[in-house]
């Protein structure tokens, strides 16, 4: 058996939670074109300046919607997130008049493929 690494894209719809005066999503982001990509623990390519999910709060809206730590956010509500600064990314996620954000994320996955199942 051997390991296969592949990435697949997923669409995740998060409903924001109201907490006091703020609408929160329940995760943290890192990365951006103005940041240092070599310090990103989740990226496979250390020159990748995209936006990554660095933390997901337990029981928050993001976890409920299926967002996982290490996901790379490609789009938010149709807006591209691969070439934005850190602050721009934050702003796009925390627009006050939006209650739902639809993310397009890319997730790395490692799966053990059993040889027999491949052959069968």
């Amino acid at each position: 058996s051997y390991l296969i690494s592949f990435s697949f894209q997923q669409r995740i719809e998060i409903h924001k939670l109201r907490q006091g005066d703020n609408l929160i999503l329940g995760f943290s982001i890192g990365g951006g074109i103005d940041q240092d990509p070599s310090q990103n623990p989740f990226s496979e390519d250390k020159t990748d300046k995209g936006i990554y999910v660095t933390r997901v709060t337990e029981g928050g809206p993001a976890e409920v919607a299926g967002l996982q730590i290490g996901d790379k956010i490609m789009q938010v509500n149709g807006w591209d997130m691969t070439m934005v600064t850190h602050d721009q990314a934050r702003k796009r996620l925390t627009k006050r008049n939006e209650e739902v954000v639809r993310l397009l994320v890319t997730r790395q996955s490692l799966q053990k493929a059993v040889q027999q199942s491949m052959m069968s």
Binding site: L25, S28, I29, Q35, D36, N40, R55, H86
Partner: protein, 525 residues
């Protein structure tokens, strides 16, 4: 027949003497005892040769015994017979006389060299004066009168000779600081050059001027001036060859002492091997810590224990397989499970702790002792309190309180033979006179210092031998190794060339120093 030299032999405990000479020689001679010379032929010796008596060695044992043991053995004569195994043989005499000749010979060689150089120098110095004076003495009436130019040349000759004299004094008139085994090549070369030069000038002068009685006095004086100019240039050549050439460093030499591995590096220029050895030795006395044989006993006892552990039994027969035996021993020693490294580790840790403890006690004792002394200022001196002392008495007063701690420390670090009580007292009074702190006083005892710091008797290293595979007058090259041996240890010197350095430049515009921040922030949304 008897030679006119007296014997001082350690062997003469076994010497035999004829019954006749015994009484005559015992009166009127001083006792000679030389227990310190282990190897008899090394110290200065002289030998008495007497006619051999008729009695053989063994037959005289009875008479020797009744004479008493070691009282008068120094006064007895040693018979030179070939059969006696303990008397001085013919070869020993030859060796002793050769030693005497050698020591006299070396001095002769040095003084010979100096006298030759001095005579040559004097001749050379007087030559221009002679060139100028000889025509005046010999054919004064025929000479053209000396005009202004000619007299100006007299002044120039005088001053140039003065400059030459001062320069020669500055450069060459120095106390020889060393005795080198072979002749100094450049110096000899220069002497030969000067000799040939002056000789050719005299030849020309004798043939063209003296014989033909040249009347052009100005020409003669100019000839003398040209000689002095050329001598000044030779002096310049001497400076360059003897002093300047070796100033630029070309080689790095590594000097390692064979007994304890202490090593130093020095930079040298183009020198011959013997001159490089001289430089190394001059720096040895200043840089290397003094050779202390007491510190080597531990490793020697360990080495003895290693070799004593194994015995080889030859089972197969009487065949003498020496190399096979030694290889078997080495292999067995390597395989044997040895705990000597453990012993070494604990012993060293223990010793370290003991030294530190003694050192702490010593420092405290000395600090306390120094607090008892107060220097009197000038006004206080006039009031003259009763116990006013000079520095020596002050030293003697505070010495007893620190003596025990100091002695214990010196014993632990095995330095006790290097410092006598008198030397310690002297150092203490020196420190008190110069307002030194206790730490400055202790600096001499806490760390072993260079050889120059100690008494000449404790040096162990006064006579050196240069051992080299190449000629000692050849220059240093990369990879040359030579050894400087003295009686107890040797210095191994390894020469390496300083590498050729290729230096290139890079220009950085001061405005080009620009920076960015590298961040990795995390924001929660």
């Amino acid at each position: 027949m008897s030679a006119a030299m007296d014997t001082e032999s350690t062997y003469s405990g076994y010497s035999h003497y004829s019954g006749h000479s015994k009484k005559a020689h015992r009166q009127g001679r001083d006792r000679h005892k030389s227990p310190r010379s282990k190897d008899g032929s090394r110290s200065e010796k002289s030998v008495t040769i007497q006619t051999p008596p008729a009695e053989p060695l063994l037959g005289n044992d009875a008479s020797r015994a009744e004479e008493g043991q070691d009282d008068n053995w120094g006064e007895t004569t040693t018979a030179i017979t070939g059969t006696s195994e303990h008397s001085i043989s013919q070869e020993d005499i030859a060796r002793i006389s050769k030693d005497l000749e050698d020591s006299v010979g070396l001095d002769c060689k040095r003084y010979l060299g100096l006298t030759v150089a001095a005579v040559l120098g004097l001749l050379v110095f007087l030559t221009p004066i002679a060139f100028i004076l000889l025509p005046q003495i010999l054919w004064r009436d025929d000479l053209e009168p000396c005009g202004t130019v000619c007299e100006g040349l007299f002044i120039s000759v005088a001053f140039k000779l003065l400059i030459l004299l001062i320069g020669t004094w500055a450069l060459f008139f120095r106390q020889p600081k060393a005795d080198l085994p072979r002749v100094f090549v450049f110096r000899a070369l220069l002497l030969v050059l000067i000799f040939l030069f002056v000789f050719s000038y005299w030849l020309f002068y004798g043939v063209r001027i003296l014989d033909s009685k040249d009347t052009n006095y100005q020409g003669i004086v100019q000839y003398a001036v040209s000689l002095v100019d050329a001598l000044l240039f030779i002096h310049y050549l001497a400076i360059v060859l003897l002093e300047l050439r070796q100033l630029q460093p070309m080689f790095t030499v590594k000097v390692v002492r064979s007994t304890d591995g202490e090593s130093r590096y020095y930079s040298l220029g183009h020198l011959s091997i013997q001159r490089a050895a001289l430089v190394v030795l001059e720096n040895y006395y200043r840089d290397f810590t003094v050779y202390n044989p007491a510190l080597l006993t531990a490793s020697k006892s360990r080495a003895a224990k290693h070799m004593a552990g194994l015995k080889v039994y030859n089972v197969d027969g009487p065949g003498n397989n020496a190399s096979g035996q030694s290889r078997a021993m080495i292999a067995a020693a390597a395989r044997r499970r040895d705990s000597s490294h453990n012993e070494l580790y604990y012993e060293e840790a223990d010793h370290e702790r003991r030294v530190r403890k003694r050192r702490a006690r010593l420092v405290v004792a000395v600090e306390e002792a120094f607090t008892h002394i107060k220097r009197l200022q000038a006004e206080e001196q006039q009031k003259a309190p009763a116990e006013m002392m000079d520095s020596r008495e002050a030293a003697q007063a505070i010495f007893p309180s620190m003596a025990r701690a100091l002695q214990k420390y010196l014993r632990t670090t095995r330095q006790q033979q290097y410092h006598s009580m008198e030397s310690i007292l002297q150092h203490l009074s020196f420190c008190i006179t110069n307002n030194m702190t206790p730490k400055a006083f202790l600096e001499r005892y806490l760390n072993p210092g260079p050889t120059l710091q100690y008494d000449r008797d404790r040096w162990f290293s006064k006579q050196w031998t240069l051992v080299s595979e190449e000629a000692v007058t050849s220059g240093l090259q990369d990879g040359v190794v030579f050894v400087l041996k003295c009686l107890d240890f040797s210095l191994v010197v390894n020469v390496k060339k300083i590498p050729f350095i290729k230096l290139s430049e890079e220009f950085i515009d001061p405005k080009s120093h620009k920076f960015v921040l590298r961040l990795q922030s995390e924001t929660s949304v």
